[in-house]
């Protein structure tokens, strides 16, 4: 009977978009790996095949299982991350894999789903009010635990993903000034890199003065404004200091290239330049499947993993790129729509986490590939080559689809 109910109640729209993305991903991996890396597309094919039993397992586990064992799953996940320090295999300078023979597994790909479960579980308690500072600290701790374990691997890309949970917390009642602070921090950071520090401070002063006189008289608080300005100044100068003195040259270069400050197409700018060339040469309809000259020539580094979107851009053109972006956006909005109609807080929060995680991957990856975000190692969900990634995202998504399918039984 359960089988019957899952089949009838699962959200087929999401499943179909998922399948289309995975197949498109494989086609592009096939194209990009034809010339260079041997066996890549065959392996990815096996990975894709493995997702089928994985999906069945995820769907046939009892609906309450995830909520019940969320803490344990989270604990196991943290252990697996910590274990990397002892048993991890170092590939390309990153110690974030377990190796079993020639087979490697990246626990950080699964930790996202685990963290989402843990956060959902924590917030599902009706007693939780995120207006309280203690609750905020506890929620942040859940998010920061895996980050602390992932950062030193080092894997800044995976760590960056966790910032999206702020949006989830906001949805569940986190005061809005967190989001505003985050937004203003990012804005100030970027402005400081583009402009001179004192120019940014003058700008901030101007904005504060405008707010001060435009606002209600009762809100006028000289002290608060002064403190705010001091904080901003300190932040701006520290960003400047960190950028110039703490960042390594290659970090600086990544930002500088993005901001158009330095152009070095042979060195650090090579990746971005090559990926822009590949995508840019696609035109309206692309060069056709298996016809991408950049793809065939292997000009784009890491093309089958983080830069897989360049193949889409080159071979399928603007039409193909648009379709892929539309599919992603469609899936994300669908998940949010489903999350909002959940009957339990647990599954709603989890759904939100799924949408958030997929969104930040999708945006950061494509933005990096098309040169509007610094180079950072974030895979494109369902597209990029790699078993751990594909399975991690599949589990993440299908746990939610299972919850969604199960909601009828929760009366």
């Amino acid at each position: 009977m359960k089988n019957q109910s899952v089949k009838n109640n699962i959200d087929w729209i999401s499943v179909i978009i998922y399948c289309v993305l995975v197949i498109l991903g494989w086609l592009n991996i096939y194209s990009s790996s034809l010339s260079s890396t041997e066996g890549t597309y065959e392996k990815q094919f096996i990975f894709i095949c493995c997702t089928i039993p994985l999906i069945f397992v995820v769907l046939f586990v009892d609906g309450k299982f995830y909520e019940k064992y969320a803490s344990i799953i989270f604990g196991v996940s943290l252990l697996s991350l910590a274990g990397l320090f002892l048993f991890g295999k170092t590939i390309a300078g990153q110690r974030c894999w377990y190796a079993i023979g020639s087979f490697t597994l990246q626990p950080s790909e699964f930790a996202k789903a685990a963290t989402a479960l843990a956060l959902a579980k924590y917030l599902s308690d009706t007693q939780i009010n995120l207006k309280e500072i203690n609750r905020q600290i506890q929620a942040l701790a859940i998010i920061l635990l895996p980050v602390i374990l992932i950062l030193p691997q080092p894997d800044p890309g995976s760590a960056l993903i966790y910032s999206i949970f702020i949006i989830v917390l906001y949805r569940e009642g986190l005061p809005s000034w967190y989001v505003w602070t985050g937004f203003i921090t990012i804005l100030l950071f970027v402005l400081t890199l583009i402009l001179e520090p004192y120019v940014v401070i003058l700008l901030a002063l101007a904005v504060l003065i405008i707010i001060y006189f435009k606002g209600r008289v009762v809100d006028r608080n000289i002290l608060l404004s002064t403190i705010l300005l001091s904080i901003i100044s300190a932040f701006v100068f520290s960003v400047n200091y960190v950028f110039e003195h703490v960042f390594k040259q290659h970090h600086r270069d990544r930002f500088n290239i993005l901001l158009g400050k330095s152009v070095d197409m042979k060195g650090i700018g090579y990746n971005t330049n090559q990926s822009e060339i590949a995508i840019g040469s696609g035109g309206w309809l692309g060069k056709g499947f298996l016809e991408g000259t950049q793809t065939k020539g292997g000009f784009v580094p890491e093309q089958h993993t983080d830069y897989i979107f360049t193949t889409v851009g080159e071979e399928w053109g603007f039409a193909g790129s648009f379709i892929v972006i539309a599919l992603f956006a469609g899936l994300l909005l669908r998940i949010i729509y489903l999350a909002e109609r959940q009957k339990t807080k647990f599954s709603r929060v989890y759904g939100y986490c799924v949408a958030g995680i997929l969104f930040i991957h999708f945006f950061v990856n494509i933005a990096m590939v098309i040169g509007i975000f610094p180079t950072i190692g974030v895979p494109l969900p369902f597209f990029s080559y790699g078993g751990s990634g594909l399975w991690g995202f599949t589990i993440l998504l299908f746990i939610f689809l299972k919850m969604d399918a199960n909601k009828v039984n929760e009366w």
């Binding site: 840019g280 309206w284 020539g297 000009f299 909002e340 040169g371």
Partner: protein
């Protein structure tokens, strides 16, 4: 509000991505080009250039293989025996280091040219051992192989295309070769063929990984076509020999077809020196010789007042206009007083004379009178000049002739507009322009125009546009070369003129230049010229001019000769005309006395006045041993350039000098 944030972010982010991708893919198309440069290598397959033959099928220009030694610096082995390697290639060790360093600067892993254009002999020894030298390989190229050491001005030469040509013609890419000057330029598209293109897919290491789209866009090279020139190689060679130690031009035409039989300019050079390793050095040498100007085709470009030969046209126009006839008499007082205090001297025997004697004695008075009558026939001199001018233009004068060589000059035939400019207030009459009558004044012609004039007279009233192309493999030559141009002068007026020209050889200025068994009709001419040396205007020896055609009946050759500073027309130019005509018609020379005299005649002392050291000029004339002489010449060339700055050569013909 809280529910909206994430969906809003998703929509904004997706739109941002789409906009940026739209910009990259659709708006900014620079990436497309970059991608092609990046990933697709275009390989050209250059076809061999067509051969060039003379009118009788003698091979003049063929091709030879040449070899470029290429190097990939990274692949050179450390144990390379540099000493042995350098010996084989006949270069010094320093040279080797320098070339390798240069190649490394370009790229350590891409091939660059190490040594270019070795000929077969230079390459042979190296070829046997090339396998020993890793990192080096050779690339075969096809270069011009000149079978003859003359005709440089006719052939032109092959050079690399320049930026301007690349911009103008998309066929050419940087480094391609193109014909310049001569038939190599005018028949470039026929001779070169069409290069084949192969698109090759590269990878990021610049390795070739196969053909692009299975060769869908590849094309096969089309061989260049062979051409036959109208040139008579033997005559051309003879003409160049006769011109040794002289400066000037010879143009010989076949009247019945307009075919150019010979086109000589002196000084010239061996076309072979502009091929191979010494090419650029030699070209620089030729190019910078601003005094002897070996790259300047005097047969096509030297514009001079034609002098006496022009009287033929004055006579023809006067006959056509009906202002004189064969029996019109003019009395010559050893000169012609055409206005108060204005006197045109004349060297004829004087007395009463008619057209016939007027021509063979080249009487200034006779033709001045005929010209004034032509102009005075009309009430307005301006209208008269235009009538006269139009007659002359029907001979192809005062305009580009439309022949198939890339350089040319219009010459000048004055019209009423010319005089309106010269005399803005009007008031000029026939007396003001009477110098035109005897080919001076405002009249200017090039040797090929003179030759064409003679061809027209030989044909009694028509000509074909002179051309140098005889045959293109399987193709007809341009129909403009087979179109008859008829002059405005009736045929009947030519015979008295021709009989006068015939007697130039019997009783006139060329009586000592007769050739046994050939009836030649000709006319001497002289153009005065001046040079400004160290600021002083000095009259140099006259340019010697001679025009002729032969035989008198059924003419086979029309010829014009101009010798710079050759003096009186009959002393240098005349004998050359006789010899050329005999050579062409008889294939051997009976007047060996004349031949010896011409061959030994040197005008170098005359040219030395212009600043060129005679010793230098001698060498410049035929830079055959150019490799040995290059260094010496270089020094002296600087010398002569320094001098030439003080000298402005000027040809003037404002004073009047009859023959």
């Amino acid at each position: 509000m809280r529910k909206v944030l994430l969906p809003t972010l998703i929509i904004i982010a997706a739109s941002l991505l789409v906009i940026r991708i739209f910009y990259l893919q659709v708006i900014d198309d620079s990436f497309k080009l970059k991608s092609e440069n990046n990933a697709i290598k275009i390989k050209y397959d250059y076809p061999e250039r067509g051969y060039i033959y003379d009118r009788y099928g003698k091979l003049l220009v063929a091709n030879q293989s040449s070899y470029d030694i290429m190097v990939i610096p990274r692949d050179i082995k450390d144990n390379l025996n540099i000493t042995e390697f350098c010996e084989l290639l006949n270069i010094t060790k320093e040279d080797y280091e320098k070339r390798i360093a240069k190649a490394k600067v370009y790229s350590p892993r891409l091939p660059s040219v190490f040594l270019s254009q070795l000929n077969k002999n230079e390459f042979a020894a190296f070829q046997e051992k090339i396998r020993k030298y890793e990192g080096f390989y050779f690339q075969k190229r096809s270069l011009r192989d000149y079978e003859v050491d003359y005709g440089a001005n006719i052939f032109g030469f092959i050079t690399q295309v320049n930026e301007k040509q690349i911009a103008k013609n998309p066929y050419y890419n940087s480094g391609d070769l193109i014909g310049k000057q001569g038939v190599e330029e005018s028949y470039e598209e026929i001779l070169r063929g069409i290069k084949g293109v192969k698109y090759i897919q590269k990878d990021k290491y610049n390795r070739e990984i196969g053909s692009y789209k299975n060769g869908k866009y590849d094309t096969i090279a089309v061989q260049g076509e062979d051409i036959n020139l109208t040139i008579d190689a033997e005559l051309q060679k003879y003409g160049e020999e006769l011109m040794i130690n002289k400066r000037g031009g010879i143009v010989a035409l076949e009247p019945s077809s307009g075919e150019i039989l010979a086109l000589v300019t002196a000084p010239s050079y061996d076309p072979g020196i502009l091929v191979g390793r010494q090419r650029s050095k030699n070209y620089t040498l030729l190019y910078h010789d601003s005094i002897a100007k070996p790259l300047y085709d005097r047969g096509l470009l030297a514009e001079y007042p034609p002098g006496s030969p022009f009287k033929i046209l004055t006579g023809l126009v006067a006959l056509q206009e009906g202002v004189i006839d064969e029996n019109t008499s003019v009395t010559c007082h050893h000169g012609f007083s055409y206005a108060r205090g204005r006197f045109m001297r004349c060297h004829c025997s004087g007395g009463q004379l008619q057209l016939h004697r007027g021509i063979y004695q080249s009487c200034n008075s006779y033709f001045a009178t005929a010209y004034m009558k032509t102009i005075n026939k009309y009430t307005k001199p301006a209208a008269a000049v235009d009538v006269w001018s139009n007659h002359l233009k029907s001979f192809g004068l005062g305009q580009f002739m439309g022949y198939d060589l890339p350089t040319g000059k219009r010459g000048k035939i004055p019209t009423s507009k010319t005089y309106k400019r010269m005399y803005p207030n009007g008031g000029w009459r026939s007396t003001a322009i009477v110098s035109n009558a005897i080919g001076q004044g405002e009249v200017v012609m090039t040797p090929i125009q003179l030759a064409n004039m003679m061809a027209t007279i030989a044909n009694q009233g028509y000509y074909y546009t002179p051309h140098i192309i005889k045959k293109i493999e399987g193709k007809k030559i341009d129909s403009k070369f087979t179109t008859k141009h008829t002059t405005t002068i009736d045929k009947k007026y030519f015979s008295p003129i021709i009989s006068g020209l015939f007697d130039v050889y019997n009783m006139g200025t060329a009586s000592r230049l007769k050739v046994e068994g050939i009836d030649i009709c000709g006319k001497t001419g002289t153009a005065e010229n001046f040079a400004k040396i160290d600021g002083k205007r000095i009259q140099l020896k006259d340019h010697s001019i001679f025009v002729a055609f032969a035989p008198k009946d059924n003419p086979k050759i029309a010829i014009a000769i101009m010798i710079e500073n050759g003096g009186f027309g009959a002393t240098v130019a005349g004998p050359i005309a006789s010899l050329m005509i005999e050579k062409y018609l008889k294939r051997k020379i009976s007047r060996t006395d004349l031949e010896v005299r011409v061959l030994n005649k040197s005008l170098q002392s005359e040219y030395a006045k212009l600043g060129g050291l005679s010793e230098v000029i001698k060498k410049e004339l035929k830079i055959k041993d150019s490799i040995a002489n290059a260094a010496k010449l270089e020094l002296k060339r600087k010398d002569s350039i320094a001098k030439s700055k003080r000298i402005i050569v000027k040809t003037k013909a404002d004073s009047i000098k009859p023959n």
